[in-house]
């Protein structure tokens, strides 16, 4: 009888569970699952939107990987950008979070101010940075001129265009900062007190308490940053159109060009699936290696 009661409870809980997640499931099936499946089938075709798709098998994948220099160039640019922007995001976000974790007057206002840029539209930020990076009239070169440095033509130079966009990505450091801050505030203060009693300095506390304790948060920020960086588009689309040369020709920009400039929908779909596979692979590798450097307090207790 008791067994039956449990089953009934479990059944009700299951029903409630599915009822509550049903809006998401319905939304996913209606708006995401269909396009995902369709995009895979389209990746096996040649389709210019004007006439019916023609099945070409894996030709789009083969052409991209074995014949298309621009595919590899766009991938190279994206990987460099990701490495640079993720490193900056993780490190600068953490530094700001440490500062924002101090108990000083007006800290709530500072936290808001540092987070605000993260919610500004990407296009607006891009237009702003076009001016910041302007060789003749930009504030960055004006600032450098105080130190006698003649700044380059940031966005027009093949050498500096990509680093410019990496620097610009710092604009969104408020996002990781906020998550770091939540992590920092969850570290028990008695750990620091015990370390002080043991004679630990600031650096030792940071390396042996702060970093391990927020390592799950670092992992989360790393994965989110990785996924986000690989899909970067707006900056290049608005600011550089992928130039000069192909210096900022990001992977998703090339995908967009194939889809909406040259109407090679099959090719663009194949690119989307390759990108999905790359992000999935990268995320799995990060997860796999995370056991070596991420510390989970709960696991330790078990």
């Amino acid at each position: 009888m008791a067994k039956l009661r449990i089953s009934k409870t479990a059944l009700r809980e299951n029903l409630e569970f599915y009822l509550f997640i049903s809006p998401w499931i319905i939304g996913f099936i209606a708006f995401s699952a269909g396009p995902i499946i369709t995009s895979f089938s389209l990746s096996l075709t040649e389709w210019d939107l004007l006439s019916p798709p023609q099945f070409v098998g894996a030709a789009n994948y083969a052409n991209l990987i074995f014949k298309d220099d621009l595919f590899w160039q766009s991938l190279k640019v994206t990987v460099i950008y990701s490495a640079g922007s993720i490193t900056l995001h993780l490190s600068v976000g953490l530094v700001i979070a440490l500062l924002m974790n101090q108990n000083v007057r007006g800290i709530l206002a500072y936290r808001t101010i540092y987070y605000l840029p993260s919610v500004v539209s990407g296009v607006a930020v891009s237009l702003l940075f076009i001016w910041i990076f302007n060789k003749e009239y930009g504030i960055l070169n004006y600032f450098l001129s105080w130190f006698g440095i003649k700044g380059p033509d940031w966005l027009a130079s093949r050498k500096f265009a990509l680093p410019s966009l990496i620097i610009m990505s710092l604009w969104g450091a408020g996002g990781p900062m906020l998550i770091y801050l939540a992590g920092l505030q969850g570290i028990p203060t008695q750990l620091y007190e015990a370390a002080i009693v043991d004679g630990a300095g600031v650096w030792q506390k940071f390396c042996h308490i702060t970093i391990p304790m927020i390592s799950p948060v670092i992992l989360f920020n790393l994965i989110m940053g990785f996924i986000h960086a690989f899909q970067v588009f707006t900056e290049a689309f608005v600011m550089t159109s992928g130039g000069p040369g192909y210096a900022t020709y990001f992977y998703v920009l090339y995908l967009y060009m194939n889809a909406f400039k040259w109407f090679k929908m099959g090719m663009a779909s194949a690119q989307a699936w390759i990108l999905f596979a790359l992000i999935l692979l990268g995320t799995l590798i990060i997860f796999k290696t995370s056991s070596r450097w991420v510390y989970y307090e709960a696991e330790r207790r078990r």
């Binding site: 210019d48 076009i130 003749e136 009239y137 033509d153 027009a156 130039g243 040369g245 060009m257 040259w262």
Partner: protein
């Protein structure tokens, strides 16, 4: 019965209103899509209203994606892919060939013949292969087509003591004039006003007898001296002559519409953009401007055309009504006269010979003369060469940055990309044959 009487009355009235409404409603509603928005959209609305007044049975519903031209193509292709294309659409010649090739619009050769539409009625060059036809079959009528002229700032010419350019002035004259009009007003070592704005390079290549593609062989012609010399010439206007700003310098003057600032002496422009838009913006309040011939290169004076087309989509339920509307828009005096009055891309030869087009009221005497006189010597981009637009955007344009910055000579840059440019042309040529 007493209760039924009012009910019957209401029903009868409702029935009468419904019948009346049905009788008054247009029999057909056509959807028409164009990228004219803003000021141009308001002008086009005048044309559509003229049609509506005359044809109450064929309503026109205009679709224009909000914002800029950039979203037009996406919207149109998406509507087609979704199975709901408009009945009549305007196509940019940069990508119209794709429509003809895929046969998604109706071939109008027989309709043109049936209704005796005279190709000779259009401005010279507006009917040619590559603009509205494919593989010998006609698909579209000219719409929103313009030719290239040189816009000039008369105040700057007057101040520098330079005569306004006449037919036959040369590229060398252009450079000398530009030098005289490039000035540092406040003496701070930075140029404040420029001889010329950054150039659209295509017309210059044609001035020199160059072309992107050898029209006979279908192979690229971008490494030929006629081509590379002019790319280098344009780069040197900035790098050596310093009469043309760098992109950063130009952005400091205006991010877009630099010709409207009054700080440029000469700029390549479209005839009807200059006349129509400058008139709408009341530019004379800011500075006196004009329209000049293009400088003559090694092949003599020529101009350069950019065509657009109006077509009927194959999926339309109303091909005859669509044709009537399209024919009226493109060929009727009534529609063309509205475009003439507003100086907005009339396509008929008769319309542009009218005095109010040549010397628009409130503007200048013989303002449009260069546009009219240059028309018979038009050159066209190789829109009809398969793969050209992709090779141009994907390969050529990115390679130009190194030339503009002086990192490579034009010849070096073109030599490096010629094989890739040809590869796209070859692949597309094979695809067409398939």
């Amino acid at each position: 019965m007493g209760k039924l009487y009012p009910l019957s009355l209401v029903l009868a009235l409702g029935f009468a209103v419904a019948i009346g409404g049905a009788l008054a409603a247009p029999k057909v509603e056509l959807t028409y899509m164009s990228w004219f928005t803003g000021v141009q959209g308001e002008i086009e609305e005048q044309v559509l209203n003229a049609w509506r007044a005359k044809n109450p049975d064929i309503a026109i519903k205009k679709i224009s994606p909000p914002g800029v031209y950039a979203t037009y193509q996406d919207k149109l292709f998406t509507m087609i892919a979704g199975g709901t294309p408009p009945d009549v659409v305007t196509l940019d010649t940069w990508w119209s060939q794709r429509f003809y090739k895929r046969k998604v619009c109706i071939e109008i050769s027989s309709l043109v013949e049936r209704d005796k539409v005279d190709p000779g009625m259009f401005r010279d060059g507006f009917w040619e292969e590559g603009i509205s036809s494919y593989d010998g079959k006609l698909y579209g009528l000219p719409w929103g087509t313009g030719i290239v002229v040189m816009g000039i700032n008369k105040n700057k010419f007057d101040k520098a003591g330079i005569p306004y350019p006449k037919m036959g002035w040369t590229i060398n004259d252009f450079v000398q004039y530009a030098k005289k009009m490039t000035i540092d007003i406040d003496g701070d070592g930075k140029t404040d006003e420029w001889g010329t704005a950054r150039q659209w390079f295509a017309p210059w290549i044609y001035f020199n007898g160059g072309d992107y593609v050898d029209r006979k062989t279908g192979k690229s012609a971008i490494t030929k001296p006629e081509f590379t010399q002019m790319l280098q010439f344009i780069a040197d206007l900035t790098l050596k002559e310093r009469v043309q700003p760098t992109p950063s310098e130009q952005m400091g003057i205006a991010r877009t519409g630099v010709e409207t600032t009054g700080k440029m002496g000469m700029w390549i422009s479209w005839d009807c953009y200059l006349s129509g838009t400058f008139q709408q913006m009341d530019m004379r309040k800011k500075f006196e401007w004009g329209m000049a011939y293009l400088p003559a290169g090694s092949v003599g004076p020529i101009t350069f055309q950019k065509g657009n087309t109006m077509v009927i989509m194959k999926a339309t339920k109303y091909p005859e009504e669509s044709w009537q509307f399209m024919k009226w828009y493109s060929t009727s005096d009534e529609a063309q006269d509205i475009l003439v009055k507003t100086l907005t891309y009339p396509v008929s030869k008769k319309a542009i010979q009218k005095e109010e087009f040549l010397s628009p009221p409130g503007l200048y005497k013989n303002l449009m003369e260069p546009s009219v006189k240059l028309a018979p010597i038009i050159k066209r981009l190789p829109y009809d060469v398969p793969g050209w637009t992709e090779a141009y955007n994907k390969i050529l344009i990115p390679a130009l940055d190194a030339i503009w910055s002086g990192d490579k000579t034009a010849q070096q840059a073109m030599n490096e990309i010629a094989a890739k440019f040809d590869q796209i042309l070859d692949e597309e040529a094979k695809a067409v044959k398939r």
